[in-house]
Symmetry: C2
Subunit: 359 residues, 2 copies
């Protein structure tokens, strides 16, 4: 019964998940029309906000589900709903993250906040009110998607103990992600200490829980997998999630913009407290970085100067080492586990892809 989602099967998962999302939004958009054109428009923009992602969370759900012998007839529809639910949750987090960060652009195009703001301005609404309109739209769209994602999970047909375990995974994912987001903002407003251990803990909570460990264990729970398999997948997801986020921290400062979709200056201008910055803070080089860090008017030259200093003080090498270490530990967890060989290979290749992403 074990079937491994590799190669072309992954394409199928993406197609199925996109179809699931499409039908979810089509139904809501139609329903929303009863409540006026603005509300319908909100749902249309929520659909746009959920489009175009890499669908890594749904892939993890389906990979674990197939590999651990999920029932292709009775269990498949439920697994797909869980996959869609994680993607909706992800969109909701992005929407609220944009409100909190005051962002109106994502990957070079206006995000949902920016869209509604621009539309209000085009109608002659004052800038302050237009911003309020954009933020309201994003808050409500996020609320709706959080509730809908949880409702999708609630409707899955499964034996009571599997349903309870699945709800536990979902509860835990949201609870831990909110803790990570709260810590992240505490650093940026200056409430919390952004020391390296704190930044690493925040990274794990904000990213690893709902993007890696949550989807993998949710997919496994649906097959009735045993405690050892769940533990191995949870630990792999935790370690890999950290490796991925640390890799993103590096890409933010050192990655090619054509690859990352954002300027090398944006994290530095924002004053984002990443692992790279946390390491540098504790070195003598920080005195040279500090006057530039977090400046909204940072020039390209300033950005290059910071990047050089982050290399010279050892921050880049240190974080690259952490990425390698976490990816290796993630791979080791897989190999020490009794997980099916196909899943070990598949997830092992994801772990390997974390390493050397900048080179």
């Amino acid at each position: 019964m074990t079937r491994i989602a590799v190669g072309t099967d992954q394409l199928d998962v993406a197609v199925e998940v996109d179809a699931g999302l499409e039908s979810f939004f089509a139904e809501r958009i139609q329903l929303a029309a009863r409540y006026g054109s603005e509300y319908q428009h909100l749902w249309e923009r929520a659909r746009v906000a959920s489009a175009g992602g890499k669908r890594i969370r749904p892939r993890f759900v389906m990979d674990a589900f197939w590999a651990l012998g999920g029932d292709p007839v009775r269990g498949f529809r439920g697994a797909l709903d869980v996959a869609v639910a994680f993607e909706l949750l992800h969109t909701a987090f992005l929407l609220h993250d944009d409100v909190i960060d005051g962002d109106t652009v994502r990957r070079g195009i206006p995000n949902l906040v920016g869209e509604f703001e621009a539309e209000a301005r085009a109608q002659g609404i004052s800038p302050a009110r237009a911003t309020l309109w954009g933020e309201t739209a994003a808050i409500l769209a996020g609320d709706l998607l959080i509730q809908a994602s949880q409702s999708l999970v609630a409707r899955i047909e499964a034996p009571p103990e599997r349903r309870a375990a699945l709800l536990d995974v979902f509860d835990h994912s949201v609870f831990v992600t909110a803790a990570g987001e709260f810590a992240d903002v505490s650093f940026s407003v200056g409430i919390g200490d952004a020391r390296l251990p704190d930044v690493l803990a925040m990274t794990e909570r904000k990213t690893a829980a709902y993007s890696f460990a949550g989807p993998l264990t949710a997919g496994a729970v649906l097959t009735g997998a045993d405690g050892d398999a769940l533990e191995a997948l949870g630990e792999y997801g935790r370690l890999l999630g950290i490796a991925f986020q640390l890799g993103d921290d590096l890409l933010g400062v050192f990655g090619a913009p054509e690859l990352t979709g954002k300027s090398r200056l944006s994290d530095l201008r924002e004053g984002k407290e990443t692992s790279v910055i946390a390491y540098a803070r504790a070195t003598p080089s920080w005195s040279g970085i500090e006057p530039l860090f977090g400046r909204a008017d940072l020039s390209e030259d300033d950005g290059r100067a910071i990047a050089r200093a982050l290399v010279e003080c050892g921050a880049r090498a240190f974080v690259e080492g952490l990425v390698d270490e976490h990816a290796s530990r993630a791979a080791a967890v897989l190999h020490a586990s009794a997980l099916p060989l196909g899943l070990v290979r598949e997830l092992g290749s994801v772990a390997a892809s974390c390493v050397g992403r900048i080179a």
Copy 2:
């Protein structure tokens, strides 16, 4: 088996619901401690935010559940969880509403936004960052409560068709409330037309759905009540919810501050588009009200002048008439229904309490 929740039984419901909320928050606060003191503090403030309400939503759930013959052994725990879930949802909506409205005070004391903002300022954080911190706390607390409320509902042990019907009620409540909130904000930023029919539709969506019709039908669904009972309760809830909100619109301008807990000036200063204002807009008196309406520096004298104009143009009498009409229609729905007599009496007295609240 039918047991009616009147008199002392209602006190018991309030005690049970408070105990349910208390145990919900105690568990989360303890869990949150693992993720740092700030996160624990967030959950403690969320508990405070949910305290002290009138618990009308839980009462509606339990009234319908008992009156329609809910199983006191196997069904009671589930009904109580649904009651708690509606109260958590209500708290979440209030938290996000405060962010959207930029409110830092509720009933004279700092709300969750205001608390976190004040704490950040006390630590020397700049005002802008302190506001961001307060708003982030409220956005995340609301997200957590929306998810948790839906998860509570998802865990209820009930036959599949009752569970599905219950989830439908919850989905619908959230979907419609968000539509109402979006319309409300559209009026205040000047995107939508705040004409009387639009304001009445907004009122129904924002208040009646999740505060009246939702809890009543949810309590009924848990007993396996038939379509006629659900329809009667839904329609009663819809009409009564409108009557209540219109009553609140009147109280905002004409109510005694010691009764309402807020100044008669606050809605007028905010420029809140209520039914009273929507009616006045279409009368010749509006030209006298317009220059004052929405002014943040409105004086007590200005407030009295507006109130007089709202009486003279017939707005007050018109909305009082609407309250009476909706409350009467709600009572008529009850009496025409086959609902148990005790429930008809109980809900009828709630309807009667809507009328003449200002006198």
